[in-house]
């Protein structure tokens, strides 16, 4: 046999040439208005895309190559680096839009990103360090915080979100209480879910959160249902579902987008594409260049954006929210990002060190590359370079955030374990279920 068994190597130059430009930011250049002066220097959200969301021009705004890094180009695990955004939040309409927000709001966005980062990083160190004997799953959002913060800043308090197993950042960005969150990780009775749920299900229903959820692909329906309820009530609320590239490959995503489009429901599908589906690289299962391409047959905005650029996320989310609130139906936003740590647990992670190395489904090179595009650092640079806030103000937020996190850990440590017999409660609204594990069915709570 003369056929070589060697895997074809992806020719990066040829690949970039296919996209019609050069540089590691090619993807986002391709999504910008072709030939514009901004294309070379501001390869983020095209103003046309944002404007098009409400003006009906969206379909022309995304210049998709038919020869993307899908199966036809032998896209391999590790090639997420081809989607790497620029080091800084690019100048352009999205950044300018964000800069017009009130200072307090800009600071709140930063604060919530930092709270999320520091809370999860602290728990990573606790889990890896082993001192508190923590157990259960923990799906870190580290590296993706710009998406939650950007989208949530475009929502009203009474809008709904549906979250995922990787939802700590969503809860914090919607104003979640760190004490109750930490206590839930410690499985204490003071936790958000009274120790029934743990990390994967931490929820504050009072904040319009339909739940973090342990089933990949559950969120689209829950959000669509909440959105349908808002339409029935005429309340003008919208619902946002966050989920990953994995859930976008579930039939429920397709089903929900199709029917939500058919009924013009005020729901926004935010795909947090971190290229990693549990332990499978997205490259091995995705036939299109962008996941947003999946819904190209529907007449809705479906736009890939730089998910580590909080300005792009905010601007796109705001346009989608306005569209939904105006009764024009759903949008799909594919926020391209990268998860720094392993799916759940902390394989390859160390105390005091960011990121995780040596995981079989990704290369350390791409991890390092994406960590250099930290959404928090990029936002910090944006804020200070534009003189919107001072470094001192941000430093104070950093310090306060760490203190709030540390205080929440203390709160959790000092809280009580749940009465184990409360297991039998909250199955139904009223009364316990029978304690059938006992010979005489005794030991019931309340």
């Amino acid at each position: 046999m003369s056929v070589s068994n060697q895997k074809p190597r992806l020719d990066r130059r040829a690949f970039l040439k296919t996209l019609g430009t050069a540089g590691a930011t090619a993807t986002f250049v391709a999504a910008s208005a072709p030939g514009s002066a901004q294309a070379a220097t501001a390869p983020s959200l095209s103003p046309d895309i944002a404007a098009g969301l409400t003006g009906g021009k969206w379909d022309k705004a995304v210049a998709l190559s038919t020869a993307g890094p899908g199966g036809n180009l032998n896209w391999k695990p590790g090639d997420s680096i081809k989607f790497l955004p620029p080091e800084k939040i690019p100048r352009g309409k999205a950044a300018d839009t964000l800069a017009t927000l009130p200072k307090q709001k800009l600071l709140t966005i930063y604060e919530r990103m930092q709270l999320s980062r520091k809370w999860e990083t602290t728990f990573k160190d606790l889990f890896v360090g082993g001192k508190d004997g923590l157990y259960g799953s923990f799906h870190p959002y580290i590296g993706e915080e710009g998406i939650a913060a950007g989208v949530m800043s475009a929502l009203n308090d009474d809008d709904y979100i549906a979250s995922t197993h990787r939802g700590h950042g969503h809860l914090i960005a919607k104003g979640g209480d760190l004490n109750k969150m930490s206590a839930e990780i410690f499985f204490k009775e003071t936790g958000y879910n009274k120790a029934y749920g743990g990390s994967m299900h931490i929820t504050d229903m009072s904040k319009g959160i339909m739940g973090m959820n342990g089933i990949v692909g559950a969120g689209p329906y829950l959000a669509a249902g909440a959105a349908l309820g808002a339409v029935v009530r005429g309340s003008k609320q919208v619902a946002v579902v966050f989920h990953g590239d994995g859930a976008a490959n579930s039939p429920y995503f397709f089903s929900a987008v199709r029917s939500a489009t058919n009924y013009k429901l005020p729901v926004i599908f935010v795909i947090e594409n971190n290229f990693q589906m549990i332990g499978v690289s997205m490259a091995t299962v995705t036939p299109t260049k962008y996941i947003a391409d999946y819904v190209k047959g529907l007449d809705i905005p479906a736009t890939p954006i730089d998910g580590n650029d909080v300005a792009a996320v905010y601007t796109m989310a705001k346009a989608a929210v306005d569209r939904a609130r105006a009764g024009q139906g759903p949008s799909v936003i594919e926020a391209i990002t990268f998860r720094w740590l392993d799916h759940s647990g902390f394989a390859g992670a160390r105390v005091g060190v960011d990121g995780a190395a040596g995981l079989p489904y990704r290369s350390d090179e791409e991890v390092r590359a994406w960590m250099s595009r930290d959404p928090i650092k990029r936002y910090r640079t944006f804020l200070t370079e534009r003189n919107l806030v001072t470094a001192g103000e941000l430093d104070k937020i950093d310090a306060d955030a760490q203190k709030a996190v540390d205080d929440s850990i203390t709160f959790a440590r000092n809280s009580k374990l749940p009465d184990p017999s409360t297991t039998a409660l909250n199955v139904y609204a009223n009364g316990p279920v029978a304690a059938t594990q006992f010979f005489n069915r005794q030991g019931l709570a309340g």
Binding site: N193, G197, T203, A227, G229, S259, L425, V427, Y428
Partner: protein
């Protein structure tokens, strides 16, 4: 109290509740909920309530969407009825199992789920075969935590259980069998009323055998009752109506009296809900004589004579009751 067709009584309950509660929604697939009285009155849910509170002209054949979106509605505090045909019930069961039944518990009581899951049951009848002849799969739902399961067998219970299910803050599977909709029906009040979920009814008093059966096997039991009387077997016939929660007290009270329990259902044999009833009763009352007859562990056949052979029908019930008297 007027006599009403089963479907009319049922939709009358739905319509009355939808008129009272403007947030109550009702979504179905292709079977438009319309019912008429012999005297000409019509209930047309889609026409009266329109969209978006109902499916209007129908929703896509996408049962997971119907159940999933209804669960989202209910979790956001909106009472909701979702309805789908039994042959496709496994599609949405993922969302019923993992979301509807579990959200309250895993959120520590934060989530509520005022949801009615209306399953249009099949039945052990000839001609359709396989996928369209199932019965007894209400037992699937009884096994899932967080759900309640009711199975009405006449027009009065159909309306009363529907209203109770709508009012219930927990997800209620309302299993609706076509076979019980024909034939003589009891009077149905015009006003709204609840048949309490978890309350059985003694349909006939007796002293020899306690016969427990729910829809759709109630059709065969009703046919068997005259024959049983003729054979000299005094049967106490109980329709639990609600399988979860189960009114075990009513059944135990009866079996204490008769000492014999015969359960008749249309489920497949293994792990049908009747097995659970027997397990409960023999644990509470050791020494009683208990038997169950059911559909075999086979899919429903298409041929009429094959179905008649497999169905636990009136002659087989009469025979079973006679046999249990001898042990």
């Amino acid at each position: 109290m007027p006599i009403k067709p089963y479907a009319y009584a049922q939709l009358e309950g739905v319509a009355q509740e939808m008129r009272k509660d403007k947030n109550l929604c009702f979504y179905w697939e292709y079977g438009a909920p319309v019912a008429t009285m012999p005297t000409g009155e019509i209930i047309n849910i889609a026409k009266e309530f329109g969209t978006p509170r109902t499916s209007g002209g129908g929703w896509a054949i996408d049962e997971t969407w119907i159940a999933g979106v209804a669960i989202g509605l209910a979790a956001s505090g909106m009472p909701c009825i979702c309805r789908f045909p039994a042959m496709a019930q496994i599609y949405p069961i993922e969302f019923i199992y993992n979301q509807a039944g579990k959200l309250r518990h895993m959120t520590g009581g934060q989530a509520t789920m005022p949801l009615v899951i209306w399953v249009d049951g099949g039945g052990r009848t000839r001609g359709s075969a396989g996928q369209h002849t199932e019965a007894g799969y209400e037992s699937l739902y009884t096994h899932l935590p967080g759900l309640k399961v009711v199975v009405p067998s006449n027009a009065y219970d159909a309306k009363g259980l529907m209203i109770a299910a709508i009012h219930d803050p927990d997800p209620v599977v309302y299993y609706d069998y076509p076979e019980v909709k024909s034939g003589v029906q009891p009077d149905v009040p015009d006003e709204t009323y609840e048949v309490p979920i978890g309350k059985a009814v003694v349909r006939q008093q007796g002293t020899d055998v306690t016969l427990v059966s729910w829809a759709p096997a109630t059709v065969d039991v009703m046919r068997a009752l005259p024959g049983l009387k003729q054979a000299g077997v005094s049967v106490e016939y109980i329709d639990p109506r609600s399988l979860k929660p189960l009114d075990l007290d009513t059944i135990l009270t009866s079996v204490k009296k008769t000492g014999r329990l015969l359960v008749v259902d249309h489920a497949n044999w293994t792990n049908g809900f009747g097995s659970h009833i027997i397990a409960e009763v023999v644990q509470a009352l050791p020494g009683i004589k208990a038997r169950r007859i059911s559909f075999p562990d086979a899919p429903g056949p298409g041929a009429g004579n094959m179905m008649a052979w497999a169905r636990p029908d009136a002659p087989k019930i009469i025979d079973a009751a006679k046999q249990i008297m001898k042990i």
